[in-house]
């Protein structure tokens, strides 16, 4: 029973990491940028969701999730349009654009402290507090819903990328932007879509994490790094890898906290990152490709 709750918790937090990792992977594929403000998009989504709840306390969880997604999506688009794109057009070196993303992240952290203060903020209960029984095992509804949101969002993203022509063109742009342009793709617009989606994924992750734990102006730093570890674990730039990496990282982190020590929970992730970079540089996807 304890194990079931632990597993559900690991999968729920894994979904949060997966969503952040997906954003990293999408932006990485399309622009080669490591978007270090991804964690702050999560934080701002979390804060926006919470603020909407303050205004409209009766709002259902799905609506809160959507509010967080929209807010982060808009912010991500603004970052791309106002900062990264002008930098690219000026042919600024990639390293410097990546540095600019760190700058955006610090800017967001400071703005959030001004707007929401420096205390951790609790989300009101979004879900029923009486446990669901799944196959006789009680599981917290919160965890079930967060997993459901995560799975539905990732499923929708896959459908969009696979089944719509816009989605296909976004993938085409990520593979060969020049040729995609020759087929009529407007790169500016495709980049905006990419950032919008990456932002929305992060915003959803923010609401999900906030409802599990709390919102905090500095929450994005560690969560962003963990999302990045998850993306690296999956194989940077692979969307399937990012999703898998997130879930796996959630499992590793949760179970190592229980069976090793919770004091080292965050450190374990970082050790993992360095280990992946050393021994599995192309991630799980690389492993798969090497075998296939």
């Amino acid at each position: 029973m304890y194990l079931a709750e632990l597993l559900a918790g690991a999968l729920a937090i894994g979904c949060v990491y997966s969503l952040v990792a997906l954003g990293f992977a999408m932006i990485m594929r399309a622009t080669s940028i490591i978007h270090f403000a991804q964690g702050e998009l999560l934080m701002l989504g979390s804060m926006s969701g919470l603020s909407t709840l303050w205004l409209l306390p009766k709002l259902p969880a799905v609506a809160v999730l959507i509010c967080g997604m929209v807010a982060s999506g808009i912010l991500a688009v603004a970052m791309e349009f106002l900062v990264y794109r002008p930098l690219r057009l000026r042919r600024v070196a990639l390293m410097n654009v990546i540095t600019a993303t760190v700058g955006m992240s610090i800017l967001c952290i400071n703005a959030a402290r001004l707007l929401w203060g420096s205390e951790p903020l609790r989300y009101p209960e979004l879900f029923s507090t009486s446990a669901y029984r799944i196959a006789g095992v009680p599981v917290s509804p919160q965890l079930v819903w967060i997993m459901a949101f995560g799975v539905v969002l990732m499923g929708l993203l896959q459908l969009f990328l696979k089944r719509t022509r816009t989605g296909l063109v976004m993938q085409a742009v990520a593979q060969d932007a020049e040729v995609a342009q020759l087929m009529g793709a407007n790169l500016t617009r495709m980049m905006l879509y990419t950032f919008a989606i990456a932002g929305m994924m992060a915003g959803a992750a923010g609401v999900m994490f906030g409802s599990l734990f709390f919102s905090f102006f500095e929450m994005g730093f560690l969560l962003g790094i963990k999302g990045f570890v998850a993306a690296t674990l999956g194989g940077l730039g692979s969307l399937a890898g990012a999703m898998l990496g997130g879930i796996l990282f959630g499992l590793i982190e949760t179970f190592s906290a229980v069976y090793v020590s919770s004091a080292y929970k965050d450190a374990i992730g970082m050790v993992l990152l360095i280990a992946i970079l050393l021994f599995l540089p192309s991630g799980l996807v690389g492993l798969w490709k090497a075998r296939g």
Partner: protein, 242 residues
């Protein structure tokens, strides 16, 4: 249909093209031949909008296109099939084709073109679900053609479509080029294989060090002494496969 008027263009500081002028009339196949580094690809990249001419003007279908972005130029029906095929390796054959029809609004029209492209190149139908990166070189070239057809082109710029293909496949590529014209698509064909290209083309241009050295009908160029010694000498005989 397409006209370049005294185009200067190049990369960064270097001026690669100097005073290039050329004309392509509707319904023609025009060949452009020249040695490695003569500026053939650069000419095509300038026409399709990747490079901005420093001087001169490019007109297509009666309007000036120099200065437009590549996607706007593609939307006008001027479609460049670049050197090296460059299929979207991780997408399936069908997805490659669908992505290329991005600008087509109606679903039914997309379906129709998909059917058409697959009828044109049956191998694409057979490989429909296969990742494009796993196709053979010749199949990738067919996909690159199919993808270009999906956009509904009026004028195709083909950059060395036969490069690296076996003789049988080269013949297939040349057959496709000819049949493009039969369906009303005009073709500007860049080829290393001068013999093949000039046999196929109505007219041809010879590029040397960034300028047009001479132009004329395919037959004229094939008979020209300079062309024969510089471009046909070592390729003689290969034209037989057509």
């Amino acid at each position: 249909m397409l006209s370049l008027k005294a185009i200067d263009a190049g990369y960064d500081d270097a001026l690669t093209l100097r005073g290039v002028s050329l004309e392509v009339e509707r319904g023609e196949i025009v060949a452009m031949i020249g040695a490695n580094g003569a500026g053939k690809s650069t000419t095509l990249r300038t026409i399709c909008g990747f490079l901005r001419p420093r001087k001169g003007a490019i007109e297509f279908d009666g309007r000036t296109i120099s200065g437009l972005t590549p996607d706007r130029i593609a939307a006008l029906g001027l479609v460049h099939v670049p050197e090296g095929r460059r299929v979207f390796a991780e997408l399936s054959v069908e997805e490659n084709l669908l992505a290329a029809a991005y600008l087509v609004r109606e679903r039914r029209e997309v379906k129709r073109r998909l059917g058409e492209a697959m009828a044109y190149f049956p191998v694409l139908e057979r490989r429909r679900r296969q990742a494009a990166g796993t196709l053979s070189g010749g199949e990738q070239q067919m996909l690159a053609f199919g993808r270009a057809l999906m956009t509904g082109p009026k004028l195709l710029l083909l950059d060395e479509p036969s490069l690296g293909l076996a003789p049988l496949m080269v013949a297939e590529v040349m057959r496709s080029v000819r049949s493009f014209r039969e369906t009303g698509v005009t073709v500007l064909l860049v080829e290393q294989n001068a013999n093949l290209a000039l046999q196929l083309a109505d007219r041809g241009y010879v590029m040397e060090t960034g300028s047009v050295r001479m132009h004329g009908s395919g037959a004229e160029l094939l008979a020209n002494a300079h062309v024969r010694t510089s471009y046909l000498g070592h390729t003689r005989g290969e034209g037989d496969v057509v």
